[in-house]
């Protein structure tokens, strides 16, 4: 539909705007690689001495970690501007979005093109290919379809929650810290088998902040470790759908919050 075509045009314009800042791109790419690799370094080092975490061996964990990275990168690529909502509001740019004939969320998303997001996707993909090669996963057609859907669903689960949290910016002014905290929660908790954290935390990370749906649950399904899961199997298979629901819910919260927008300035 024409809205998407217009959004695509805006995105291309944002990309053209960014190509000016090439050095920034190089540094950001290295930053991205370092950031993504660091969690991996931890797993590599500890599993050298110990051999499993909660029964998951190195190849399992590598698979989990790279799946999370991939889902996160797929979320980051379109939605990276969401975290900057409070800045956009403070600069008065959001007023402009509300006055244009296009969904303000889409406008926010296409406002700036984050080049390192592309780098993140490439790095995550490379890492995933490696992890997939050593993982105990049967890549049947059914599993591959599930994998693709799970990555999308995982990205949506993360995006939905971040949408809801960042929409706090419509009511309060300084929300970057909350968004930063949520990003870190997804990063820290999402890289391990959530079971390791105990029943309560596992429940919170599944139903309150959908961290588990980003990678842990789909990975469990693909690694055929569903017996250790803290949720019913049927829910696990439906993880992509739950991700979609989370996104839908987050978007509704966002839309509701826009009504409370106070704008800024005189």
């Amino acid at each position: 539909m024409s809205t998407l075509r217009v959004a695509w045009t805006l995105e291309r314009a944002a990309l053209r705007g960014q190509l000016e800042y090439r050095l920034n791109f190089i540094v950001s790419t290295f930053m991205g690689i370092a950031y993504q690799g660091s969690g991996f370094a931890f797993i590599y080092v500890v599993l050298h001495s110990f051999h499993t975490i909660g029964g998951w061996d190195f190849s399992d964990l590598a698979f989990l970690y790279s799946l999370r990275l991939l889902a996160h990168a797929c979320c980051y690529l379109p939605f990276n501007q969401i975290d900057f909502l409070d800045v956009t509001i403070r600069e008065g740019k959001f007023d402009r979005y509300l006055v244009r004939p296009m969904n303000p969320l889409l406008q926010l998303m296409t406002n700036r093109f984050q080049i390192n997001a592309v780098g993140d996707v490439l790095t995550a993909s490379a890492l995933f290919v490696y992890a997939a090669s050593i993982a105990h996963v049967d890549f049947s057609p059914l599993h591959v379809v599930y994998l693709v859907l799970a990555v999308i669903g995982g990205a949506l689960a993360e995006a939905g929650f971040i949408l809801a949290v960042s929409s706090l910016a419509f009511r309060f002014l300084e929300t970057w810290a909350a968004a930063f905290l949520v990003d870190n929660i997804y990063l820290m908790f999402g890289s391990y088998p959530i079971r390791v954290f105990g029943a309560t935390t596992a429940w919170i990370m599944t139903w309150i902040i959908p961290v588990a749906f980003v990678a842990y649950i789909p990975a469990s399904v693909l690694l055929e470790r569903t017996n250790g899961l803290h949720i019913a199997n049927v829910v696990a298979y439906g993880a992509p759908v739950i991700g979609l629901l989370w996104f839908f819910a987050g978007y509704q919260v966002w839309r509701l919050q826009v009504r409370h927008y106070q704008s800024s300035g005189s």
Partner: protein, 337 residues
């Protein structure tokens, strides 16, 4: 014909959490949740007919921007109605957006890193302007606003005047019914201001665009608007013609009389008895400022009376200026009947 903009009993209240002072202020703020309520717009009502050019003025913090933001759909009213072109702006934002143009004097709508012409192209795409119409309007505005020389330059490299011209053109490319101008001449030099005013006037006259102009520069208003809405502390203080405002609120004009140098050196002064129906406000060094009410005292009688008795070197009449009138109204803050 129904009014194109209709505002009825419009109210906007802002609730801000009251920050707690003292120890553990942050925690207390989070926990106790006390709010300060501010009524930025309090029972504002007016209607604007299609094709009008209305000035909407008030001091800072008066509620002008808040009203405009509700009319453009940026803010949701606390209560009351606002209807623009038959739509409720905040309910149907995207449809409303197609019929309005907005220029924020201090924040550009153009794409910062791209050449100006690309911003225009993007806007044409965004508003789904048919190619022929776009080309026609583009040519017209480039000529009108003299933008040929900087069309290819990135917006961030443009001067304020150039950028404002670009913003103005961008807002009219898709021929909106209604144009909101928020401080469009701020920071511009005299020449640029005049060019801006000419453009605005032309858009209103030739295209019949309804224009709502918010500005601190009352010269803009005097030049462009026939109707004026004055707001302060969230209330409408005046809604009517500019001329009527001046006559009603400042019915006085001032006659400045300068006596011949000989008379001055011999200490001659104008006597109050010689100017019945008028008041000598100030008299020094042979120059007298005489205040009178045009309605009651015809100026020609006054001049004739003075001329008969005094050797006059020079005469001039000072009209009340809008700024003085408005300032008076702000100071007194009494709604003008």
């Amino acid at each position: 014909m129904p009014p194109v903009i209709r505002v009825e009993n419009l109210v906007k209240e802002f609730r801000r959490p009251r920050k707690q002072e003292g120890r553990f202020g942050t925690v207390r703020t989070l926990v106790t949740r006390q709010f300060d309520s501010v009524r930025a717009v309090d029972q504002v009502s007016f209607a604007i007919e299609p094709g009008e050019l209305v000035g909407y003025i008030g001091p800072n913090g008066a509620g002008k921007s808040t009203t405009i933001k509700m009319m453009t759909g940026i803010l949701v009213p606390t209560s009351g109605t606002v209807e623009v072109g038959g739509l409720v702006p905040w309910r149907e934002r995207e449809r409303n957006a197609m019929q309005i143009g907005v220029v924020f004097g201090q924040r550009s709508q153009l794409w910062w890193d791209l050449p100006l012409i690309e911003s225009f192209n993007l806007i044409a795409k965004l508003y789904r302007v048919p190619d022929a119409k776009y080309q026609r309007n583009l040519e017209r505005f480039i000529a009108l606003l003299d933008m040929e020389e900087f069309l290819e330059r990135p917006v961030r490299q443009l001067s304020l005047g150039q950028r404002m011209r670009g913003d103005l053109a961008a807002s009219m490319l898709y021929e909106p019914q209604i144009l909101y101008l928020d401080e469009p001449t701020i920071g511009l030099d005299v020449v640029a201001k005049e060019n801006m005013r000419i453009f605005i006037e032309e858009m209103n006259r030739d295209s019949g665009t309804t224009i709502v102009l918010t500005t601190h520069d009352l010269a803009d208003v005097e030049r462009l608007c026939r109707r004026l809405i004055l707001i302060d502390h969230g209330h409408v203080l005046y809604d009517g013609g500019v001329e009527q405002l001046k006559t009603k609120y400042a019915p006085h004009r001032i006659l400045v009389v300068e006596l011949e140098p000989d008379a001055v050196s011999s200490g001659r002064r104008i006597d109050a008895a010689d100017v019945p129906g008028a008041e000598i406000v100030e008299q020094a060094d042979g120059v007298a400022r005489i205040q009178f009410e045009s309605a009651r005292t015809p100026v020609q009688d006054l001049i004739a009376a003075l001329n008969a008795r005094y050797p006059i070197a020079d005469l001039s009449i000072v009209e009340p200026d809008l700024e003085g009138v408005v300032r008076q109204i702000y100071d007194e803050r009494v709604p003008v009947a």
